[in-house]
Point group: C2
Chain length 420, copies 2
């Protein structure tokens, strides 16, 4: 066993023990710990920002991309937003112990389906150090232990944040091992987490670029909550309100181009394309968006040529692919062929058509007359999210505290034995 | 590509297409198809029984174990029970499209969590041909397509049952490819299903012995709903009612010794062991049960010696391990160490102690004053089960139609765009 293997195994065993202890602790302690986390993040903000400044300085020395450094850098304001986010999570109802359903079959037993923590979450993320606080708080809200493995470039920032969170756990009488940072120097640690640390990890949540998520989905031997990419669509139906169509498309693409819920392809019905597309394109271009269209779209307004590859691309950039379709059927067929089952929207005033789209499009989130950028745990009222999942089992869409629970059946009898 | 690979790939593609079509079909068609299935199973019972007789004859020629042949053999009566089971499933409420939750966050969107089918189930089972009908019906109730891969020894029986089910699908206007039997001659077909058939399989459900389930859990590259074993406990607390303790223990062990919910280890508090154990042992011995106890149990009543290995063993036989414990803590520690997180019971009249057991024992099913043999989808009111799961994600405990669904978020707006 290498030193790293021994170290990771120890982290796994500590996490499992902490998860077991957490499940038995007074639920109020978790709320107390969450409030203390927000407080300690604020109280140690100078130390956290100093650690972050060191990370940023090293990243600049290594001439890492500006977008990377932007994601890495913390400011007093960003840190305050992180602390406020933890407070929001502290104020969420405690999901653990909630009775999800209760019934009595003919045998007279009382059966309850009761929420319980999943156990140990393995979080693998890249540059953003705030993920450590968000994920740590959500995991704790649901009674889980978490192992955080960030990138080596944010190691000092994550260590400083995790230190604040662990002090808060201790101050609430909980084991500090409920939140641990895994070493970042050796990438082999990721492989060990994906193998499950000898059964110590129940689920892996990756947050980062497509390369990271693809590796996790390929190698993980434990379940994964993730989305590989968000090739999201906005479909403008013949029955769309023109003003809504323009406003929703521009917001869905341009509000933030780097989020997974950003629209990447606009589908528009032939019958209204000539009337609406020029206005949409003008509004997008005014915000610096490049357009790539099929022949028909380019016949209506000048834009670059879209290839088949464009329909499959998550740009995460101010680029929008545009395709003119005959009708709802063709729009849904396009989404089924090229989409990533993440988030897709129809704009129309026709309720029947909207109903078919919402029912038949097989994505984690389907929207009617609202921007795809609402694909977010905060906007869903989850108080935050550890990620968005496009898998079909357990967690789908934004993954908040409730999605980090499982359940058990609690059955009460009065001496029943089973006949025959 | 081998012929088998091409054949399995074709089965996967047909299943995926059938699942997509099923999701869009009129929900009433599935109920019609389920009723027709029961009818066709009855109408073709002569053919099914003849096919089964051929399987049984071959199994006898091969001198397979009598217990195996018993599981394989169908009778008119057993087949009628299968048809009646399918009718029960037809009468279940349709889970697909059910609104599980609905809320409106501050952004004014209406968000619904709506049940949808998982997609394609891969069922891998051994000798019991009735599994084909049970699993096919449950999968269809939840809007899923299913690929059934039984053992080669039951191939003719399964083929005859699947033929009846497929005729029923067609008669209801649904694709017969929603239920397909995979070839049984080559075991490589199982490996292909475990690899997911190029993304065509969403979840694997194995039904069979520990060797099969272990292989599936080890090799599967898609999620698995399964339990490796049921090392179930009945714990008799000091505060137990003596008559309930005897009746529950005897039923939990002896009603059917071969089911996964059968109790394998009896834990009994020291304070009442001398008073209650002799009666329990006498009642068990009268039914032909062998007992293996720790030193303390053997000091109270004569029995074989239990070793550490006994605590870990799922006997599936008329053998019961017995251990005397000090208290609830020691009983729960034993269950945490040796149990399989399947089903565990406490017998006591003390509500506080029962409450702690129900909360703290981390098993899929925890019972108070009722036999562990109630661990069954039918007894839970699920109308049947495709299996029992001890995994922590998505499905836990009995897996019925509802557990074979997933969900999506349906979001309705009135033109909302997301600020900032």
């Amino acid at each position: 066993m290498t030193f790293l293997e021994a170290q990771m195994r120890d982290i796994g065993q500590r996490a499992r023990a902490a998860a077991t202890a957490l499940a038995l602790a007074d639920p109020a302690q978790r709320t107390t710990a969450l409030r203390a986390m927000a407080q300690h993040l604020r109280a140690t903000s100078a130390a956290i920002l100093a650690a972050n400044a060191a990370d940023v300085a090293r990243a600049k020395e290594k001439a890492l991309a500006e977008s990377f450094i932007d994601r890495l850098a913390l400011t007093q304001q960003r840190l305050e937003a992180v602390a406020a986010g933890v407070e929001t999570i502290a104020a969420l109802p405690d999901p653990v112990g909630a009775v999800m359903a209760e019934w009595t079959p003919p045998n007279g037993l009382t059966i309850q389906r009761v929420r319980t923590p999943i156990g140990v979450i393995g979080m693998i993320f890249e540059s953003r150090p705030n993920v450590a606080a968000d994920a740590g708080a959500l995991a704790l809200r649901a009674g889980n232990a978490i192992i955080l493995r960030g990138g080596s470039d944010s190691a000092d920032s994550v260590a400083a944040i995790v230190a604040a969170l662990r002090v808060a756990l201790l101050s609430a009488g909980l084991s500090e091992d409920a939140i641990q940072a895994a070493p970042t120097a050796d990438r082999a640690a990721v492989g060990m987490m994906l193998a499950g640390l000898d059964g110590a990890v129940d689920v892996i949540v990756p947050r980062g670029g497509k390369t990271l998520v693809a590796r996790v989905q390929e190698e993980a031997r434990v379940p994964v909550f993730a989305h590989l990419e968000g090739v999201c669509h906005t479909y403008i139906h013949t029955g769309a309100d023109r003003a809504k169509a323009v406003a929703i498309t521009v917001n869905a693409k341009m509000r933030r181009v780097s989020v997974c819920g950003a629209t990447e392809t606009l589908l528009i019905d032939r019958a209204i394309a000539a009337a609406v597309l020029p206005e949409i394109v003008a509004a997008l271009k005014a915000q610096g968006c490049t357009l790539r269209g099929d022949d028909e779209a380019r016949g209506i307004v000048a834009m670059e040529t879209a290839t088949d590859e464009d329909w499959r691309t998550e740009y995460l950039a101010p680029i929008l692919a545009v395709r003119v379709v005959s009708d709802l059927e063709e729009a849904m067929a396009h989404i089924a062929t090229y989409g990533s089952q993440h988030t897709d929207c129809i704009v129309t005033e026709d309720e029947t058509t909207a109903g078919r789209f919402l029912r038949e499009v097989d994505s984690a989130i389907v929207l009617h007359n609202a921007s795809t950028q609402f694909a977010d745990g905060g906007e869903f009222g989850f108080g935050g999210e550890i990620g968005i999942a496009t898998g079909r089992l357990h967690a789908r869409g934004p993954v908040g505290a409730e999605q980090l629970t499982t359940f058990k059946y609690v059955v009460r009898g009065s001496g029943q034995i089973r006949p025959g």
